[in-house]
């Protein structure tokens, strides 16, 4: 059972994007950071325990050529071995900041060279993999940036080809230490998933084809790839082989966000149908087949949920944003 905790007010409402909430937990300092995209600006908030708001900051997309103010597509914290960077993607390019958003350390302008006049040009999909940060683009290419332990000397080290339609989301997990282990999944608007192994050069391990609906959100945990689709389904795949193990008719409308609590193996799914569901993932000890159990369903009334994240790694609390909602709703288990 979960109960509704004190909400955190936002300066501007959340935009109708997918994966529109990023959470950075800093248990050592008793702080939690939240990041939400409003439209042309993104809001960063830091809160004390019990959701008491402390500080707040707004970031904007860097202006560039074009006739309207650039819109931000996503804001996300990337936790790397020696530092944490905040990444902001927009219709102009990719901005990277120190984790509190105070200083911009890197700017990458998108190359719209091959775009036809009818294509929208933007970056979307952000994840950290070891000392790399991977960012997706409108063309389907995934940019891999090499991040030094400190300083602004960030370099674009690789461009991954594998997708033909705009990237929606990227998920990573620390390599499990075995050979040939999948540790990154990229998803796109056509529903195609690409599974990669990271390294000085990334290797494409397998592709999981789509079925006519976009895949707005993916997560990766212990070799299990969880993908949320535009038709409300959540699929669980064996990442290295791409085999489908479980198909859940989880929601009545398009899924807008997925999140994972790695310590407990809990998966959070949120959709435009106002529901948030929590699932428990596991593997059967005999067959090592993926199994799933429904833990909890929460209806966030009258809210088209557009972002959802666990607020702690054991999955005992989560936060949610909704289109036109000027607050972050928090829930914790009793």
């Amino acid at each position: 059972m979960f109960r509704w905790e004190r909400s955190i007010p936002l300066r501007g409402s959340a935009a109708a994007l997918c994966n529109n909430l990023s959470v950075l937990q800093l248990p050592a300092r008793n702080l939690t950071h939240f990041g939400v995209v409003h439209g042309p600006s993104a809001q960063l908030l830091s809160t004390a325990p019990e959701g008491v708001p402390l500080a707040q900051r707004q970031l904007h997309a860097k202006e560039g050529a074009g006739v309207s103010p650039p819109l931000i597509t996503q804001v996300h914290w990337c936790v790397l071995p020696f530092r944490v960077l905040l990444v902001l993607t927009s219709h102009r390019g990719i901005q990277m900041y120190e984790s509190d958003g105070s200083t911009m350390v890197y700017w990458h302008a998108l190359d719209s060279g091959d775009a036809t006049p009818v294509q929208a040009v933007f970056a979307r999909g952000i994840a950290a993999s070891g000392h790399f940060i991977c960012v997706g683009t409108w063309s389907g290419r995934v940019l891999v940036f090499d991040i030094p332990a400190k300083g602004p000397n960030i370099v674009l080290s690789e461009e991954l080809a594998g997708h033909q339609t705009p990237i929606t989301d990227i998920a990573t997990e620390p390599a499990q230490g075995q050979d040939c282990v999948a540790d990154m999944v990229t998803a796109d608007d056509s529903g195609l998933l690409c599974v990669w192994r990271s390294g000085p050069e990334f290797t494409l391990l397998t592709r999981i084809p789509g079925f006519g609906v976009p895949c707005p959100s993916v997560q990766l945990w212990q070799g299990i790839c969880a993908a949320g689709y535009g038709n409300g389904q959540v699929h669980l795949y064996e990442a290295t082989t791409g085999n489908l193990h479980v198909q859940i008719n989880a929601h009545a409308r398009a899924i807008s966000a997925l999140d994972l609590a790695p310590e407990a193996g809990k998966l959070l799914s949120a959709a435009e149908d106002t529901f948030v569901h929590i699932w428990k993932l596991s593997r059967s000890p005999e067959s090592s087949y993926i199994e799933v159990e429904h833990c909890h369903g929460e209806c966030v009334s009258d809210t088209q949920v557009c972002g959802a994240r666990f607020c702690d790694s054991s999955g005992s609390s989560f936060a949610v944003t909704g289109y036109d909602l000027a607050e972050i709703r928090r829930f914790s288990s009793v």
């Binding site: 929208a120 976009p214 009334s301 809210t303 036109d324």
Partner: protein, 344 residues
């Protein structure tokens, strides 16, 4: 965001506008032939070929204010007049209705079905005028051609673009008992309904979806009141206070779009009339006085449309002048436009 959003936005808002005007014309007992003339004139101007050409060019969306200017011009394309208060209310109603429809669409591609519902009803309004009917059918075919083959992902992007346009717009509507009739409301709790079958995307067909059909067609008096709660006003105010660095771009966009609008001047003895979106003149005056500063649209009237009579006059007058030297070229299009406005 998506550069293919403007035609859908424009046609759906236009459709809602026509539904509301049709209802008000009936409520105000405007004689049938006058009412038909007004709707015919507006529909004919909306679906004018040159205008549609400009509209369908891939481009980003502009602000709500810029778009309002187009609808104001459109509403005055005939013998009907609207005061500012009524025009404000009309625009508020149009935008809220379409926002509600976009939000409730079960599938992103359904926004195309909503557009088709609007066009089907518009065709009903002009059923006796074959030329205008042809214009509408032409646009219908263009929509099918351009949007028929787009993927679910592209429609999701269009939907997100529309929702960003409508973000932070909160105007609640009440019936005459003061009960809230429309608000973003979703079903909640464990009862699920089977998804309805997909509607037809052809020129003619059963759309299945009811969103985009005329909700004013039954003669229920649906009163509408503007909500002036401070919470909503604050977020609206944030948008309008900051000076818009793209003002020049927006003016150019308007000039291009309206340059394609052919407005027929009311000729002959037929007098114009004024349509009221409120139930009485006093109410309209009261609404104009009490509209919060932050919600005002601050409209500038730009006479940038084609005018057959005037251009003939001008041509004749210019023919009588002798031009001895080359006129100097202007430095930028923006300056031209601003100079033209100064002369108004």
């Amino acid at each position: 965001m998506s550069v293919r959003t403007l035609p859908l936005l424009f046609l759906n808002l236009g459709g809602e506008m026509l539904y509301i005007l049709d209802q008000r014309l009936r409520a105000q007992n405007i004689p049938g032939d006058k009412a038909r003339r007004v709707l015919n004139d507006i529909i004919s101007t909306m679906f004018n070929r040159k205008f549609m050409e400009e509209l369908f060019k891939p481009q980003e969306l502009y602000s709500k204010k810029a778009l309002r200017t187009i609808y104001e011009r459109l509403a005055h394309a005939s013998i009907m007049k609207l005061n500012q208060a009524s025009m404000d209310k009309l625009y508020d109603l149009m935008t809220m209705a379409f926002k509600y429809q976009v939000l409730l669409c079960p599938r992103p591609k359904d926004v195309l079905l909503v557009t088709f519902n609007h066009l089907d009803t518009i065709k009903g309004f002009i059923r006796d005028s074959p030329t205008i009917l042809q214009q509408v059918d032409e646009t219908f075919r263009q929509l099918i051609e351009i949007y028929g083959g787009l993927s679910a992902g592209e429609f999701q992007l269009i939907r997100q673009t529309l929702l960003i346009f409508f973000q932070d717009l909160h105007i609640r509507m009440f019936n005459n008992k003061g009960e809230e009739v429309k608000r973003i409301e979703f079903k909640h709790g464990g009862n699920y309904v089977r998804a309805p079958k997909e509607g037809s995307f052809e020129l003619y067909g059963d759309r299945v979806l009811k969103l985009g059909t005329n909700m004013y067609s039954a003669n229920r008096p649906v009163e509408t009141h503007m909500s002036g709660s401070s919470k909503n006003v604050a977020s609206w105010a944030q948008e309008s206070i900051a000076p818009n660095p793209l003002a020049k771009e927006e003016l150019n966009f308007l000039a291009r779009l309206m340059g394609g609008m052919e407005i027929k001047q009311p000729s002959g003895p037929e007098p114009g009339f004024r349509l009221n979106l409120f139930t009485s003149d006093e109410e309209e005056e009261q609404a104009a006085l009490t509209r919060p500063e932050e919600l005002s649209y601050e409209v500038i009237n730009i006479q940038a449309t084609q005018d057959q009579q005037r251009s003939e006059e001008l041509a004749r007058i210019m023919g009588e002048f002798e031009i001895t030297e080359q006129p100097s070229l202007s430095t930028s299009k923006g300056d031209d436009l601003l100079a033209m406005m100064d002369e108004l």
